[in-house]
């Protein structure tokens, strides 16, 4: 037996304490909340406009907001009930204010009618599934993906129908399914691979139909041995062993970042300021693949997500939560918060955003809620030790950003290719002086963006 290929990391990388305490906990379905808050911008690109009115009754899965612009993805009601009002919420990631709509539940959870083409859970006749996919043309697939509001669920939330439709001058020869999940604590992708493996693989097959790559890789870090074995079995069972290559990667942070993953798997380097498609590669997350399957075959829009709730909390869980559920509701489902905990982080400990407002909802980009005890960060002077330079997977000089931002020389940072920084946080993690380097970098990037209009 051997469809699994092992690979070492093509960069130095960090060995982080994993803390994946919820890895063995099956996903629980979170009860439908009394209300959901749905921000009208949940993807990169244009915000959506509301297409329903206050007081309208909506069903779960009904499109409530859309945009005419190409780079955008529609928003759907995630529960059934009444459109109550629109409010303003602060996007904790960009600190900008965006519109959001509140839907109050009628408690019945009625859905729009879904035309299911295939039942993957019950049927073992996968050739039927393949036939359905093969007979659907590319345009139709992309349209279904768009209409279902599917975006990149690894965190970037780039609309998937745009990603899968690269400009004609970019020849895509490699498709990578990203199941690395290199951040500590997070286990949502891990659980998706174990529990929704069929949907993930079928989704990957659908994605491959849209871009017809020569090579298709499924990349998983070797700390998820059970997921690798599970997908290996399924690949054979579903008859994908000739087209999918399963790659077991050394667990090194940040393996799951697109650029480091592409380098490790294909040896190609995405150019500074470029995109994966510049080197002929498209990377999709396993959760995205699952959503693509649900969109194309089950006609089901993206209205729920597997979210890991973990850290200093009584009963950490993986929850299948409706979009728009408040973070407070999710943590409430997991019991008492630890006494010293004073940080709530959306995302993992390395790249997550700490938030104050627990009424902020789960959005398409949310994959983890981490409750943590805060640390007192005493920033000392940089001692020029070079550890940040040594660890940077993008081969940058993070200390130069700190030095120049402190002096107000934001433009100088561009000479050090600040745009190449993926904000993985490796530099700040190793910094002996405890300097919040990523904070300086983010400040610098936003200042440069502001100065250049």
């Amino acid at each position: 037996m051997g469809i699994v290929v092992k690979k070492k990391s093509a960069f130095k990388g960090l060995l982080l304490p994993e803390n994946k305490i919820t890895a063995k906990k099956p996903t629980e379905i979170l009860p439908v909340p009394e209300k959901v808050i749905l921000p009208l911008q949940q993807s990169i690109g244009a915000p959506c406009e509301l297409r329903v009115n206050r007081g309208d009754t909506v069903k779960a899965g009904q499109k409530i907001a859309d945009s005419t612009s190409y780079v955008s993805a529609p928003i759907h009601a995630s529960i059934s009930g009444k459109v109550s009002k629109t409010i303003k919420v602060v996007n904790p990631i960009t600190s900008t204010i965006m519109d959001a709509v509140i839907i109050e539940s009628d408690g019945e959870d009625r859905w729009v009618e879904l035309k299911k083409l295939f039942d993957i859970k019950k049927s073992d006749d996968f050739s039927g599934l393949k036939k359905i996919v093969d007979s659907t043309d590319k345009k139709e697939i992309l349209k279904k993906i768009r209409e279902a509001g599917v975006v990149g669920l690894g965190g970037a939330t780039f609309p998937t129908h745009v990603k899968l439709n690269p400009p004609p001058d970019k020849k895509i020869d490699t498709l990578i399914l990203n199941g690395c999940e290199c951040e500590p604590f997070i286990t949502s992708d891990h659980r998706i691979m174990l529990e929704y493996g069929r949907q993930v693989l079928a989704g990957l097959y659908i994605i491959s139909r849209t871009i017809t790559p020569e090579n298709i890789y499924i990349a998983i870090e070797d700390n998820k041995e059970d997921a690798i074995r599970c997908l290996e079995e399924l690949i054979i069972k579903m008859g994908f062993e000739d087209i999918f290559k399963l790659v077991s990667l050394k667990s090194r942070y940040p393996m799951g970042a697109e650029k480091t993953l592409i380098k490790t798997i294909t040896g190609r380097s995405v150019p500074v300021g470029g995109l994966p498609m510049d080197v002929g590669v498209i990377v999709n997350n396993v959760a995205t693949s699952k959503s693509v399957y649900e969109a194309v075959i089950e006609d089901r829009p993206l209205i729920d997500k597997v979210v890991t709730v973990t850290g200093a909390i009584e009963n950490p869980k993986n929850l299948l939560a409706r979009l728009g559920t408040t973070i407070g509701y999710l943590t409430g489902e997991c019991g008492e918060v630890g006494s010293g905990a004073n940080y709530i982080i959306i995302g993992g400990p390395m790249m997550g955003i700490s938030i104050v407002d627990t009424d902020f909802p789960v959005t398409k980009g949310t994959n983890c809620i981490l409750v943590k005890e805060g640390r007192v960060q005493i920033e000392q002077n940089c001692i020029n030790c070079g550890r940040c330079v040594d660890i940077c997977p993008m081969k940058l000089m993070p200390l130069a950003y700190v030095r120049n931002v402190k002096r107000g020389n934001f433009e100088v940072c561009r000479e050090y290719y600040i745009e190449n920084c993926i904000e993985c946080g490796s530099c700040a993690y190793v910094c002996p002086a405890n300097i919040p380097i990523v904070g300086y970098i983010k400040t610098c990037k936003s200042t440069i963006a502001k100065n250049n209009g």
Binding site: V270, P271, V272, N384, P436
Partner: protein, 316 residues
């Protein structure tokens, strides 16, 4: 969870915890090996020098931080400066001069520039350079290791022109390696114990191999070209302690791989030049200080190519 308690900060929210003070105390631990050699070979007086130097260094830093109304952090850097400074002094240096030098190291070379992280020159070496200018006689009075004998015999350091060695070459190398029968600064006489200390630094990944390797390599090659005894040149004088403990000082050496190579080669070339052409027997101290001055320049111009770097093409 009460809302008032919730804090926010930038990612990442975890930290390795390998702090500056941990690094500094590992360096102190590594320095204990050459320190032990100094005490063993040069007697109790070495202990006085070391203590005087460390206490002066720490006290000076404390007082200056208070005067500047800055927070004093006992991060161990002043201890290192004090200890290193003591280790590169002649073994019979008058104590008041030791105190003066240690004061200069911290007050002028370190704090006047803004404290740890901002100093341009290695503080310990700057202190030594200061004393060499002020007290040339005391700074060049060497004794042979007397083993706890106060009436030590004055003797030349191996690198000076007056140095004569009676026995065969092999035992000369042996003496240089182990530290017997050779004059020199407190901590520089036993190459073996310096190498053990350096091994500690490598095990804890405190220092990078490039600066010491290119420094020592350049000195070896330069000595070969000058027709000198290569092994002797490498083992004698302050080269070992300079290469592993001085030239590798984070603050005053470059951060990039290529920068470190340039730095190492530069110090090596200067050391060979000073040893062979100046009227001083040894050049490690001044070579490193000169290259310290170039470090900001090296860090500015020797950049690394980022991931995905491409030469400018027309089709952008």
């Amino acid at each position: 969870m009460e809302k008032d308690n919730i804090l926010i900060s930038h990612a990442p929210h975890i930290w390795r915890g390998f702090s500056i003070s941990k690094i500094m105390y590992i360096v102190v631990a590594a320095l204990l090996f050459p320190t032990a050699a100094g005490i063993y070979f040069f007697g109790y007086y070495a202990i006085y020098i070391i203590l005087a130097s460390i206490i002066t260094a720490v006290l000076t830093e404390f007082v200056i931080k208070k005067l500047r109304k800055k927070k004093f952090i006992m991060d161990g850097s002043a201890v290192i400066t004090g200890l290193l400074f003591a280790l590169i002094l002649p073994p019979r240096m008058p104590l008041w001069m030791v105190v003066l030098g240690a004061f200069f190291s911290i007050a002028v070379a370190k704090e006047a520039f803004g404290g740890l992280g901002y100093n341009i020159f290695n503080p310990a070496l700057a202190g030594r350079a200061f004393l060499s200018v002020c007290f040339p006689t005391e700074m060049t009075t060497w004794v042979l290791p007397p083993h706890f004998n106060y009436d030590a015999v004055t003797g030349a350091t191996p690198l000076s022109d007056n140095f004569v060695y009676q026995a065969d070459k092999l035992s000369l190398y042996k003496d240089l390696f182990f530290g017997n029968n050779r004059g020199g600064s407190l901590g520089e006489t036993s190459a073996m114990l310096i190498l053990i200390g350096a091994a500690v630094l490598f095990i804890f990944r405190i220092i990078d191999w490039k600066i010491p390797a290119f420094y020592i390599g350049t000195v070896a090659l330069g000595s070969l070209l000058m027709g000198k005894d290569v092994l002797f040149q490498v083992l004698a004088g302050g080269l070992m302690i300079g290469a592993f403990f001085m030239a590798t000082d984070y603050v005053t050496s470059p951060v990039t791989d290529n920068g470190r190579i340039i730095f190492g080669v530069g110090v090596g070339v200067l050391t060979v030049l000073i040893r062979n052409f100046s009227n001083m027997p040894e050049g490690v101290c001044f070579s490193i200080l000169i290259m310290n001055a170039f470090t900001p320049l090296i860090d500015k111009y020797v950049k690394i190519k980022p991931f995905g770097f491409q030469k400018k093409k027309k089709n952008a």
